[in-house]
Amino acid sequence: MKKEKKMKLSLPEEELMNSGHLACQGCGATLAMRYVLKALGQKVALCIPACCWSVIDGPFPYSSLDVPIFHCAFETAAVSASGVKAGLEMVGDTETTVVAWAGDGGTFDIGIQALSGVAERNDDIIYVCYDNEAYMNTGIQRSSATPYGAWTTTTPVKHFKDRPKKDMEAIMAAHRIPYIATASIGYPEDLFRKTKKAKEIKGTRFLHIYAPCPTGWKSRPEDTIKLARMVVQNATFPLYEIEWGEKYTLNIKLKEKKPIADYLKIQGRFRHLTEKEIASMQEEVDKKWQRLLSLVNSK
């Protein structure tokens, strides 16, 4: 051991998420929680519907988090959070940040009407969707966030998913809410900054966090961060913000847009794809990327 310089920490050292939780090795959803809580601090109440995180946290009477959690029904994350917020206001607490914390199934599919209602009323909550691109908690079933081409237990190799991932940002933008952001656990500082920013805004704020799942994606646990970076670098999951449904800002600009093939190759869920299928998926990614660039540049 040489120089006794300071350890460089790019995020606050205090942890509100503890060890001992029940997530699989290399779980991305866990890191999403760790970073978001670092940004929000202790004055937070979470509403978590059925999803991996309701298991990760631990069984009664334990929890892995040092903030209160209300475990709510699968389809009610957004509206439970609105209710908790209203209740806190009634007892004079205007400080606590209320967060709905749901998976992609709980957001893109079953929870979408509650979320739409909350967004339309512009209720004062932060809605976080950690996206592992399938129903993982119940054994890897397809959701509308599952990308085109992926294997899941309900889209077996012979009938892999043949529909594109739902464009949740566009749906949320159509509600004209004050803040929408995409983030990835591969870029913790960006996620941290966006969460801090969301905390200071009033109204419905929507954070969509890309969170690799080695168990469901048949990827190596040590590749979790790499995948979360690659997906941004190849423009499959660009990092951007939308204010009031119209002002688009791109956060990670790409000097060189990487091909998607390398990203697909290290995930078992895409192993069956042929060169031709990969080429057509690449075309789709390129088209979506151009569409996003035109939205960013239109203002």
Binding site: M1, K2, E4, K5, K6, M7, K8, L9, S10, L11, E13, E14, E15, M17, N18, S19, G20, H21, L22, A23, Q25, G26, C27, G28, T30, L31, R34, D57, G58, F60, P61, Y62, S63, S64, D66, I69, P188, P214, R220, P221, E222, D223, T224, I225, K226
Partner: protein, 99 residues
């Protein structure tokens, strides 16, 4: 930091001890997830540049900072290998666990 949080198992002696509302009253720290591991990270501090990247990316909060150096908490580390993969100087080796 977590070292001073309490980590006991909670035992309800009778039904009367169980809270009326199912509330979490203890932490999962009693769940020593290190036993899940079959390979373990070993840090070679001679080549460590104290960048904090291993600390930042550990999903199990199992790398802590002690006297400005990274230390693996083997009580909880699940052996996912992320720290070794992400370390810029490749000074973390994943070695077979002896049981």
């Amino acid at each position: 930091m977590k070292k001073n949080k309490q980590a006991q198992k909670i035992v309800f002696k009778s039904e009367k001890d169980v809270p009326l509302m199912p509330m979490s009253i203890g932490t999962m720290l009693h769940n020593k997830t290190g036993v899940w591991r079959n390979i373990k990270p070993v840090i070679d501090l001679d080549n460590c540049i104290q960048c904090g990247i291993c600390w930042k990316f550990c999903p199990d909060v199992s790398i802590f900072v002690e006297d400005e150096w990274p230390v693996v908490d083997y009580v909880y580390c699940k052996g996912c290998g992320i720290c070794a993969e992400e370390c810029p100087t490749k000074c973390i080796a994943m070695v077979e666990e002896e049981k």
